[in-house]
C-alpha cells in the first residue's frame, strides 16, 4: 500500500515538472516582435534592442523588455538616420552613405563595410541579394538636389555591397520589400511599385496616388503606410490589384 502511495506521489511530482517544462517552452514560442517602418531608429533583434542617434549605435539588453540595460555604445559616423535589421546584419543609413554591421557577436556589432554616396537623406532596406536605398534632398540633407533610388548588390554573405544602378525619382523617402516587389514612397509622385525580379534593375510597375506617402511596412498581404497626415492600409495580396482598405487621420 505504502509503495503505491509513493508511486502516486512520484507520478504527480513528475507530471508537475513536465507541465512546468511545457509552459516554459510555450512561453519561448510566443515571444514575438513586430515590424518597423524603414525610417525607424530602433531595431529589435533577438534579445537586443539596437538604437541610433545622429552619431551613435546603442545596444540594449532586451531579454526582459520591461527591464532594459545599456550594454554598449559605438561611434558610427555623422548624420546617422535609419537602421534596418536583416538576418545577422544591421544596415545603417547616413547622410553620406550606408554602413553594414555584423551581429555575429550581438553585444559588439562590427562594421563590415561602408559605401559612400552623394549627400542626401536616405533610409535603406535589404533582402538576401540586394540593398535598396533612397536619397532625397531637403532641409538637413545637404545642398545637393538629388532624388534617387539606389541599388547595391550584396554577396552571398550579405556583405561587400557593389553599386548597380540609380533611378531618378521626385522626392523618395521610405521603402519596403515584398518578395519580388519593392514599394517606394515618393512624396511627390505617390507610392511606386517596382518589380525586382531582376534585383539589379528594378522596373517601375505602378504608381498609387491620392495620398502623400512617407513610409511603408509590408506585413503579409497588408501594406501599412505612414502618410504625412496619418496612416493608410492597402491590400497587396494581388500585386496587380492593389486596393485601398482604409485611411485614418
Amino acid at each position: 500500500m505504502k509503495s503505491i502511495y509513493i508511486g502516486l506521489w512520484a507520478i504527480l511530482i513528475i507530471s508537475l515538472f513536465s507541465q512546468c517544462n511545457k509552459s516554459n517552452q510555450s512561453a519561448n514560442i510566443t515571444q514575438t516582435t513586430g515590424k518597423a517602418g524603414s525610417l525607424s531608429r530602433f531595431a529589435l533583434v533577438g534579445n537586443y534592442l539596437y538604437a541610433i542617434n545622429n552619431q551613435k549605435l546603442m545596444v540594449y539588453g532586451a531579454s526582459d523588455p520591461k527591464n532594459l540595460s545599456l550594454l554598449n555604445t559605438l561611434n558610427v559616423g555623422e548624420s546617422i538616420e535609419t537602421i534596418f535589421p536583416f538576418q545577422d546584419k544591421l544596415f545603417i543609413a547616413s547622410n553620406n552613405g550606408m554602413y553594414m554591421y555584423s551581429l555575429a557577436n550581438p553585444i559588439a556589432p562590427i562594421k563590415e563595410s561602408f559605401v559612400q554616396h552623394i549627400t542626401g537623406c536616405d533610409p535603406v532596406v535589404a533582402n538576401e541579394t540586394h540593398a535598396y536605398l533612397t536619397i532625397h534632398s531637403g532641409r538637413n540633407c545637404g545642398s545637393n538636389n538629388i532624388n534617387v533610388l539606389q541599388v547595391y548588390k550584396l554577396d552571398s554573405n550579405l556583405a561587400n555591397p557593389t553599386f548597380k544602378t540609380s533611378i531618378p525619382l521626385s522626392n523618395p523617402i521610405g521603402l519596403g520589400l515584398k518578395d519580388k516587389y519593392l514599394f517606394v514612397c515618393d512624396k511627390v509622385q505617390g507610392l511606386i511599385v517596382f518589380d525586382i525580379s531582376d534585383g539589379d534593375s528594378p522596373i517601375e510597375k505602378q504608381i498609387i496616388t491620392g495620398e502623400t506617402f512617407v513610409d511603408v511596412i509590408v506585413y503579409n498581404d497588408l501594406l501599412v503606410c505612414m502618410l504625412d497626415n496619418g496612416i493608410a492600409y492597402y491590400n497587396i495580396a494581388d500585386i496587380n490589384n492593389i486596393t485601398k482598405l482604409a485611411v485614418l487621420n
Binding site: 510566443t30 515571444q31 514575438t32 516582435t33 513586430g34 515590424k35 518597423a36 517602418g37 525610417l39 525607424s40 531608429r41 530602433f42 531595431a43 529589435l44 534592442l49 538604437a51 542617434n53 545622429n54 551613435k56 546603442m58 540594449y60 532586451a62 523588455p65 520591461k66 527591464n67 532594459l68 540595460s69 545599456l70 555623422e78 548624420s79 538616420e81 537623406c121 532625397h136 531637403g138 532641409r139 538637413n140 540633407c141 523617402i173 512617407v214 513610409d215 511596412i217 506585413y219 503579409n220 497588408l222 501599412v224 503606410c225 505612414m226 502618410l227 504625412d228 497626415n229 496619418g230 496612416i231 492600409y233 491590400n235 482598405l245 482604409a246 485614418l248 487621420n249
Partner: protein, 209 residues
C-alpha cells in the same frame, strides 16, 4: 515629412554663439586701441540699439515653442483616442495592431483586426517620443532621454511597467524643422520644448537656416 533635426541645428546655435564671441573679442580689441576706436564702438553700440528698438515693431509669422514644465515631461498617460496632429513613425505588431507616433506627443494605438475598418483605441501620451518597437507585448519608446516599457497585452489596461533612465540621447528638435523660418528663442526657465506652433511673433530673435 522626415524627422530630421539637429547636426545643422547644433551648428547653427554654435554659429550664433561664435558670432557673439567674435563680436565681444572685437570690442575688446577696440578698447585696447585709441579713443577714436572707443568712440566708434560706442557709436556702433548706440546705433545698433536704435536698430533693435526699431525692429521691435515688426510682427512676422514664425514658430513659438510649446513648453512643458520639467516635472511633467516624464509622465506617461493612457488617454482616449484623438486625431493625429503630426504623423510620425509606424510599427506593426501582429496582424491586428498598428502603432503610430504623434511626434513628441505620444502614440496612437490602432486596432486593425478588421483592416477595412481600423479603429484608434487609445492614445498613450509620451512627451518627447519619436521611436517605437514592441517585444512580447511590451512597447518600448523614448520619453526624452529615457526608454519606457509599456505593457500593451490588454488594450483596456495599458500600463507603464518599466523605465530606463538617461540611456537614449535622441538629439531631437531644439529648433523648428522648417527652413528659413523665424522662431521665438527657447527660454529654459519656461520648461522643456516639446514642439512648435505657428503663430505671429513680435520681433523674433532666432531664425532657422
Amino acid at each position: 515629412m522626415k524627422l530630421h533635426f539637429t547636426t545643422n541645428n547644433v551648428q547653427e546655435l554654435i554659429v550664433l554663439k561664435l558670432r557673439k564671441t567674435n563680436f565681444l573679442q572685437k570690442l575688446k580689441k577696440m578698447k585696447q586701441n585709441t579713443i577714436i576706436s572707443i568712440t566708434t564702438a560706442c557709436f556702433i553700440t548706440i546705433s545698433s540699439l536704435i536698430a533693435c528698438t526699431r525692429s521691435q515693431e515688426s510682427n512676422v509669422m514664425g514658430f513659438a515653442p510649446i513648453y512643458m514644465p520639467e516635472n511633467q515631461i516624464y509622465i506617461v498617460d493612457v488617454l482616449s483616442p484623438r486625431s493625429t496632429e503630426t504623423a510620425g513613425k509606424i510599427y506593426q505588431y501582429g496582424q491586428g495592431l498598428t502603432l503610430q507616433v504623434d511626434v513628441s506627443k505620444g502614440i496612437h494605438v490602432i486596432n486593425v483586426s478588421i483592416p477595412t475598418s481600423p479603429q484608434k483605441v487609445k492614445f498613450i501620451s509620451i512627451p518627447g517620443v519619436s521611436e517605437i518597437a514592441v517585444k512580447n507585448n511590451i512597447l518600448i519608446a523614448n520619453n526624452f532621454n529615457d526608454l519606457v516599457s509599456i505593457d500593451i497585452s490588454n488594450l483596456n489596461a495599458i500600463q507603464l511597467v518599466g523605465r530606463t533612465k538617461d540611456v537614449y540621447q535622441a538629439n531631437q528638435g531644439t529648433i523648428p524643422s522648417e527652413p528659413n523660418a523665424f522662431f521665438e528663442c527657447p527660454n529654459e526657465k519656461k520648461g522643456v520644448v516639446i514642439g512648435w506652433e505657428k503663430k505671429e511673433l513680435v520681433n523674433p530673435k532666432c531664425k532657422t537656416l
